[in-house]
Symmetry: C3
Subunit: 310 residues, 3 copies
């Protein structure tokens, strides 16, 4: 089993064993991610970041990881101003890029673009988000956060809270968690529930999934509270938005009934979903989660581009 040279388009491209290998490698990467140790794993390697949709956060993260491994980046993040847009096909663009660097990290507004890019490229492609599609490294860092907190993923009770309809983060993560034997609890406003086909897929895969209306009761037994952003533009009516957003807001009062070991996660950026007062509690895991993106992606990049991590 080797990840060397592999495309990573969807979390489903990775077996359970491969995910576990990446999580173990990520743990070893932490001192390198913190800058306490120096890695030269990607010395003399050049990685192309092709961001055809702005995502400063994800771009910064990947640029950090390539460089923490001693590698170099070239970055597209201004597609609108670019000759990439003179009617050139994605196939042609990717084929050119794949002759420049040693791998491509792709962000694209269109679902399925990463799979197309992998076909056009003779270098590995990592999907950093394609529209409503996949964002597999987000799922990996989410898993790493729970793994670090609990030492296992098996048997965890993970509550997903907020927008479960449009949040692609949730769909991939719920799938991966079910593979690892976690229990999934869904708590969403009526208009923002998990899409039926995602739910069916989870049921078909034998996942243990329940739903709960009340945030308070969802929190009571949870090991992980995975909070997502509820976006104003999903609501026709500002008052309706305010009401829903308010009832899905996590603060210390909501957490009063939680297990002491509960961790609160959030893919960030947060707006009002988690009160700042939670930051000071042992429950707050979202900044750790953001940081863990660095060792997780370092591990993945190293495994894919060199076959080794560390």
């Amino acid at each position: 089993m080797s990840l060397k040279g592999r495309d990573v388009i969807s979390i489903r491209d990775l077996s359970r064993d491969e995910i576990e290998e990446i999580l173990r490698a990520a743990k070893r990467m932490i001192p390198y991610a913190e800058g306490r140790k120096s890695s030269h794993a990607l010395e003399d390697r050049l990685v192309t970041l092709a961001f055809f949709e702005p995502s400063t956060r994800t771009r910064l993260s990947f640029e950090t990881e390539v460089q923490r491994l001693g590698g170099r980046c070239v970055t597209i993040s201004d597609p609108s101003a670019s000759s990439m847009r003179k009617g050139e096909s994605l196939h042609d663009t990717i084929r050119m890029l794949s002759s420049y660097g040693d791998g491509i990290i792709l962000r694209h507004p269109n679902e399925g673009a990463a799979r197309l890019a992998a076909l056009a490229s003779d270098k590995p492609v990592i999907n950093a988000g394609d529209g409503a599609g996949q964002h597999p490294t987000q799922t990996l860092l989410d898993l790493a956060t729970m793994q670090e907190a609990f030492g296992t993923l098996s048997g965890l009770k993970v509550v997903f809270l907020g927008d479960l309809k449009f949040g692609r983060t949730v769909h991939s993560l719920a799938h991966a968690l079910s593979v690892f034997g976690a229990e999934i609890v869904l708590s969403a406003p009526s208009t923002l529930g998990l899409p039926a086909e995602v739910r069916e897929h989870l049921d078909d895969a034998g996942a243990r999934v329940t739903e709960v209306d009340q945030v308070h009761s969802a929190v009571r037994d949870a090991d992980v509270l995975y909070v997502t952003r509820i976006q104003k533009e999903r609501f026709a009516d500002e008052a309706e938005y305010a009401k829903v957003a308010g009832s899905y807001r996590i603060d210390n009062a909501v957490l009063a009934g939680a297990k002491s070991r509960l961790i609160v996660m959030h893919p960030l950026p947060r707006t009002g979903e988690i009160a700042p007062e939670v930051d000071g509690t042992p429950h707050a895991a979202y900044f750790r989660q953001a940081f863990l993106g660095v060792p997780v992606r370092m591990a993945l990049l190293s495994l894919i581009l060199t076959g080794r991590a560390g």
Copy 2:
């Protein structure tokens, strides 16, 4: 003869011997460009990319080349948002930039800007395109592509097809080819022919230039078919554009009558000028051509900044 410290503003700044030196060095650079060997030629060197006009493709290419040589880049590619535009003269901007890095790669919307920049800078300036002016590294990579395919430039029959009026690529390349003893055939729509002064210049230089109306007959004897983009905005009328673009489109049917050794080149991006079915034929050289920009510019950068290549 040394290229060390030289400005490269126009292909005409380079003698035939110097062009041949660059092409030989580029050939040696190929394994470094492919990432199979590591170069440290530009270690501890810093190159400034000053792109006052967006050209993502050219920027990416130069950033790749500097870094494949072990060097570092700082890049301007957002001039509109920049304090560069608070009415500062190009002279002042370049003078400041030349005190920061070890060389400047300039892209500018105005013809002649690169020559002005070279006067202001006490570090070497490489022109990466200035308006309707020169783009000498494009010419070098075009020559390298033909040289690699045929082992020589002398005696080749090169057909230029499409927009020969606005395509600056063609003007510089035709000049360089005539220096190396290639034969030039022009095939353009009546409104997009080679400008009279460019044609006169070629004639004065003793170039062998002929014109041909029919694409099919142009293809028959050609060694190189150099296809250019026909831009819709050059036509007053959409129907006229569609008709012209259609008759200058290269597909396998058009190539059926060609020599087996014919190569098809294109500066990319292509839109409809070359059918994707051509990609799978031995004639297709345009992706190789795009890749060869990497070793060619690596050779040039190394020769200019260090006096050596390799």
Copy 3:
């Protein structure tokens, strides 16, 4: 005394001894800044440039300095297109960034933002300008320019000319100069004088400050003429602007009555404030001043991130 790990938000965060240490270190950095010697002081260090307001010049300078020290950068300079703007607080953004790199260089449109960022970050923060607030490395490079020209700051007569109201450069520099015992002369259009609170602060600190109306008489005794940009948008009336700008323009005729050792400084970019004919005279120090930003910021970065410089 050590600067290691320190935030540098305002020039007032630095003692006189610390400023002197930085200026000494900057002098030793000059051959490294010029690319004649190679530094690896920041090898394996990663610095985040968070530019939430465009400033290409300052960004380029810091990217140059980090890389001249062998370090790596990740840069935000496109905040408008960024997920940073999905309503995330500056606290959250900075907390995330501080978990990625080893230090943050912040540019922000809002006065006080850098101080807030320093509170949120557990890595050092260097202020690269926050609104009408501070820009301490500009002050340091201004001091370095005078120190290099005269060997001392004490006893210099420094004339500030032009817009002393909105030019934040002037406020910080005047404060620092008074600490070092320089004499300050103000010469501004009536509507663009030094704000009363800045003047009071200087007086309270025991600075020697005088005002003079006529540019010619201001120039006569000056050691340093610090010229600032007079911005058209500060005037209701184009004619009024033209009149003021004209009377504060420095050319060789104005400098005819100056001391031979007078240096003319300007934070750049200049528009019409200094005639190009001055460039060729020994008085012109503004391009040297721009260059000295490189060794000064190299010294500061090295001292803050490693505790050493050189």
